[in-house]
Amino acid sequence: MRTAAPNTLVARGLIILLMIVTLLPFLSMLSAALAPQGTYPNGLQWPADPQWGNFVKAFEVAKMDQLLLSSALIVLGVVPVAVLIATMAGYGLAKLTTNKYKWLYLVFVFGLTLPFEAVITPLYYEVRALGLLNTRFAIILPLIGLYMPFGVYWMRAHFLNVPHDLTEAAQLDGATRWKEFVLVQVPLARPAIMSLTILLFLWTWNQFLLPVVLVQDPMQRTMAGALGAFQGQWGTDIPLLCAGSLLILTPTVVLFLIFQRQFVAALMQGAVKG
């Protein structure tokens, strides 16, 4: 205990330093958001007279209610489908493929190495050819595809860890492949599915580039994407801009706070199993 104390102190100090570094930009943004309109706050001092009304104004001018709905629709279009397909593909690649088809998985891993920015231009032409430009499908369909490499990799890693005996026991108990998948594998995969769902939600909600490039109307974009338009429109009004940005951040932070337990647990589980 005695020898551990100095180490603990150092560790605590480091953690506090990290927290400050992480939180400082947000506090700075908050101070700016509370500054009176028309001023140019430097973000380093707390305003004498905090203008909480800036948040109400930002909510109204950015039509946050509509943006929330739009974001929710996109998330609902992407996440369940992506998670379902990734789970099935992960199971297939982990349990149903023989050595002959190992390379199939490599195709997905290859997808992981593709930088997102590299595919955005061809994606634009493809979406245009499909006639989906300026609809939410221009965001939903590409995102489902773009999430597959990671999703499949994630789920396959989980299914590889499930003992093969369980599959065989289910088979002998009379389960078809489908029943085994639905009644045995999916319930066991819940932590992995849960964390994948949360990750995909965050990535979709924070999706910026794709909506900005593929969808003109800010009301059809994700919240983060709409920030682009908001910035163009109110770029000179720093307090309002900061208030809007903070509002856009809020849902993800709230969600993370609600699910952080599951999130951390899921990540830890993966780490222990190796």
């Binding site: 026991a169 088979q171 108990d173 078809t176």
Partner: protein, 359 residues
């Protein structure tokens, strides 16, 4: 009705043959044990019967059906895995009832069967727990319960007791025997523990290198091992094996010499010829101390087990294990002479096959 028949069954993994032509007949209600050293193909053979492993050649019948291409779930078999393979996310109740649920058994029937199985296995108080909250022995019971509720024609066990400690293994062995008696079902049981094999089996199948070495009742295997492998594998401590050769043939008698001793044995004419090398097998329990016995050597090592004494005796060129009743007082290094009854001798020819005595 669930006889099980295997006809020249083969299994290759790629180019590697693992099961090399197994023929076997298992009657309804028999308790058959597969034994053999690690890697001899016991699990593979069992999994082929279950349908978890493809059959490279030959034919497996259950009842009057050829099941080569029948899915595991349609074979009427249930299996208990060495790892138990319980579903971790289900309670014991649901684990046991999973197969019935899949078969769309009505809820009340299902409930009755699950509770009946729980009663038989004395695990009624465990029904609401999950596998993670059970001890090894309790998990084992659940795994067996899951097998018995489905009332299969054939039960398959792959080393079900090997994860348990010695005392629990003994208890479970007795329970399995009782279960077999109560259910009257055909059971196939894989183990590499020959005590389990001897005590549980109506019939033992000794496998080595993917080939059936001998099939028979425990005592048949013990009394009449067909070759050197079976002789060495069945019985504990291992049978002593002394190399020697045939000196002479006189009428129905042969004179052999092993390790400096000369013995005359009755043997049918033509079973061996002069000059053949042979191996003399004699079980540790068959040896007795006798001052004019044919085998003499010195005491090397003494193990007192209380009820009996295990003595290692060094002969001229080889060593013998001797198990003597009681706590006889021996001294390491002292000379000792050993004798035996002629009926207790096993003789094997150069091909490692048993040479039959006239009976």
């Amino acid at each position: 009705m669930a006889e099980l028949t295997l006809r020249s069954v083969y299994k290759n993994y790629g180019e590697v043959p693992v099961i090399k032509g197994v023929d076997l007949d298992i009657g309804h209600g028999e308790f058959v044990v597969f034994v053999g050293p690690s890697g001899c193909g016991k699990s593979t053979l069992l999994r082929m019967i279950a349908g978890l492993e493809d059959i490279s050649g030959g034919e497996i019948r259950i009842g009057d059906r050829i099941v080569n291409d029948v899915e595991p779930r349609d074979r009427g078999v249930a299996m208990v895995f060495q790892s138990y393979a319980l579903y971790p996310h289900m309670t014991v109740y649901d684990n046991v009832g999973f197969g019935l649920k899949l078969a769309n058994t009505p809820k009340d029937v299902r409930d009755r069967k699950i509770r009946e199985a729980a009663r038989v296995l004395q695990m009624e108080h465990l029904l609401d727990r999950r596998p993670a909250q059970l001890s090894g022995g309790q998990r084992q019971r659940v795994a067996i319960g899951r097998a018995i509720v489905r009332q299969p024609d054939v039960f398959l066990f792959d080393e079900p007791l090997s994860n348990l400690d010695a005392a629990l293994r003994g208890d479970m062995r007795i329970e399995l025997a009782r279960l077999h008696h109560d259910l009257g079902a055909t059971m196939i049981y894989v183990t590499h523990d020959q005590v389990e094999a001897m005590t549980l089996g109506d019939k033992i199948v000794v496998l080595d290198g993917g080939i059936v070495q001998q099939v028979g009742s425990p005592l048949e295997l013990y009394n009449n091992p067909t070759n050197l492998f079976v002789a060495g594998f069945i019985g504990s401590p291992r049978m002593n094996m002394l190399p020697g050769h045939v000196d002479d043939l006189i009428d129905d008698q042969v004179r052999i010499s092993v390790d400096g001793a000369s013995l005359t044995l009755p043997l049918p004419f033509g079973s061996v010829s002069k000059g053949d090398s042979i191996t003399l097998g004699i079980r540790p329990h068959a040896l007795v101390v006798s001052p004019d016995g044919p085998l003499s050597g010195t005491v090397q090592l003494i193990e007192q087990l209380g009820n009996e004494t295990v003595v290692r005796v060094r002969l001229k060129a080889s060593e013998l294990t001797v198990v003597l009743p009681g706590q006889g007082n021996f001294v390491v290094g002292s000379p000792v002479s050993l004798g035996f009854a002629l009926a207790d001798i096993h003789l094997f020819n150069a091909d490692k096959k048993r040479v039959r005595r006239p009976s």
